[in-house]
């Protein structure tokens, strides 16, 4: 069974634009325009998109906090509209890094409160609170007031709350927003671990390309209420750009030799000196990286050049996003559809 199944979700808001004191011009904003995707058990699915793409609307609908206009979604088989209470038993939600707790309660007291709201009691509640505190690495800080915790700790406490009922699906809205690099890395590692070791399905929204690239099994690119593409990061890159760059560092008496050596390979090569070493940048098709690399290394060795380092720079997720989003723009600068 799929952990998450989303079919043609649509949601519009009517907003009011003030025209004078009493006049109001109504505008319909289409936040989601037929979003469909699925997520498997134990998968981290990133929903990547800029501000206003519809990420938060999607998350709120899946978290049963907002009803869709049409379409449906199922969480571990339960319909988010007709079986809302069942869905809530199977999801853990974190919608903000910094808010959502009582400031004058400790982390442990806050978790106990929400545990009781979500139906835990007695020794089961006590045990579960301790388990989630340990899981997020907050056991030592559990008796600090919420307002005394650092932002990174607050984020982890938010994840701890999401884990209280041991849910199948975690829905996390920008879980590292505003965190310093160390805290952000810790939260990412925790999320990845929850999916890999804990078997949780994680739906994660972000506009941080690096985050999506580092922890997501697949990424859905959402823009203006539509999913532009959904696949593994590698596949997305391959789909939008077939060019990667082989970066090779060579040492030895390379001056003057490189261009001649590589001419026979029929590749466009740029070479530059970097102190006592030389660097080669060779554009290659992503489909033939291995073969090209082998040929280049063979040629360099034959010419007596020492290879000190090789790296492959593939198109980044950011390149993918920009390319996909720009495809949606018509020549007149208006989004199509």
């Amino acid at each position: 069974m799929l952990a998450v199944e989303v079919i043609e979700l649509r949601k519009s808001y009517v907003t009011c634009r003030r025209r004078g004191l009493l006049r109001c011009e109504k505008q319909v904003v289409e936040a989601l325009r037929g979003v469909s995707f699925t997520a498997r058990r134990g998968e981290v699915l990133g929903i990547l998109g800029p501000n206003g793409a519809g990420k938060s609307t999607l998350v709120k609908i899946l978290a049963t906090l907002l009803l869709p206009d049409s379409g449906t979604a199922r969480i571990v088989g339960y319909d988010i509209v007709s079986e809302r209470e069942e869905v809530r038993k199977h999801i853990g939600v974190m919608l903000s890094v910094e808010r959502g707790f009582f400031l004058r309660l400790t982390g442990r007291e806050n978790l106990k409160y929400f545990g009781m709201l979500y139906g835990l009691s007695g020794s089961q509640l006590e045990r579960r609170v301790e388990e989630v505190l340990r899981a997020v690495g907050l056991a030592r800080h559990a008796d600090k007031l919420y307002e005394e915790l650092s932002l990174g700790m607050k984020a982890r406490l938010g994840i701890a709350r999401a884990l209280l009922t041991d849910p199948d699906v975690l829905i996390l809205d920008e879980p590292t927003l505003g965190l310093d690099p160390v805290s952000a890395r810790r939260v990412r590692s925790l999320i990845r671990d929850l999916a890999v070791s804990g078997g949780k399905t994680v739906l994660l929204t972000t506009h941080n390309m690096h985050e999506a690239e580092s922890i997501c099994d697949r990424v859905a690119i959402l823009d203006e209420g539509r999913i532009l593409a959904i696949d593994t990061v590698e596949e997305l890159k391959r789909k939008v750009s077939d060019t990667a760059f082989l970066e090779i560092r060579v040492a030895g008496d390379y001056s003057g030799k490189l261009a001649a050596v590589l001419r026979g390979l029929d590749l466009h090569v740029t070479a530059r000196s970097d102190g006592s070493a030389g660097r080669l940048s060779i554009p290659v098709s992503v489909h033939s990286i291995e073969e090209t690399l082998e040929a280049v290394l063979h040629t360099l060795r034959q010419a007596g050049l020492k290879v000190r380092g090789v790296s492959v720079r593939e198109p980044s997720l950011e390149d993918v996003f920009v390319k996909l989003a720009s495809r949606e723009v018509s020549p007149h600068g208006r989004r199509e559809g």
């Binding site: 907002l66 009803l67 919608l95 009582f102 400031l103 004058r104 835990l120």
Partner: protein, 258 residues
Amino acid sequence: MAGGRVDLVRAGFHLWVSMYRRSKAALLVTLLRTYLVLLFLAALSGGTSRHSLAAQALVSLLITTTIDSMWDMAGSLLTQRLTGVLTYAALAPRRLSEVVLLTYVPRYLAEAALKALSLAPVLIALDGLDGLVLLGVALALGLLGALPLAGIGLLVAMLTLLTREEAPWLDWLIPILLILSGALYPVTALPGVLRLVALLLPTTYLFQAADLLASGSELGRLPALFASLAATGTAAGAVAFSAAGRIEAHLYEKGGQL
């Protein structure tokens, strides 16, 4: 059942005990609130005899355990929205209105008991054991009277969420309620239609009972007033709770402030 109503009441108990443990000042303010109202009533009436002071102490308890519940309920909901807690409360496998109302109940009961306790020394000093009995009657009236008012407070707070504003609805509602219930002028002074409206309001019976307690006369009418208060209170509470449920459904549909 997971996420049952008892769990919600227990959660509320845990929340408010934890809050008060950290906020001694809040506890002190709660205990002193009855004396602030007593001071206000004494200043208004000008009567400082033992009997009138005891009566005013009882009315102070009634006011602080009933009208205050509206403010507390609405304030609690809005505070939870501002701190972002409401979103996670809404994720409990129960209706949001139930969550808000039932987690508030322990706070209400504890505060009502504390307020009664704070006035006990005054009433014992003024009226002896009779004072304590009257205090018990006033507390019972207050508990009964708070039921519909907490419902109205919830309804008002939900309306505030729906309109996406922090409009001070209660500033308007409470004076109207006080006028219609005969708290400021006798109900008989109201025009005919409004007198009919007054009959439907639980607060009318609450203030009539308060008058009896204050005057110490016709106490035999108290059971009838209790019954009227219970009947109209249950009806008003049910209507308010049902209306709050409709607003809640609207919030889920329109994307309110959850």
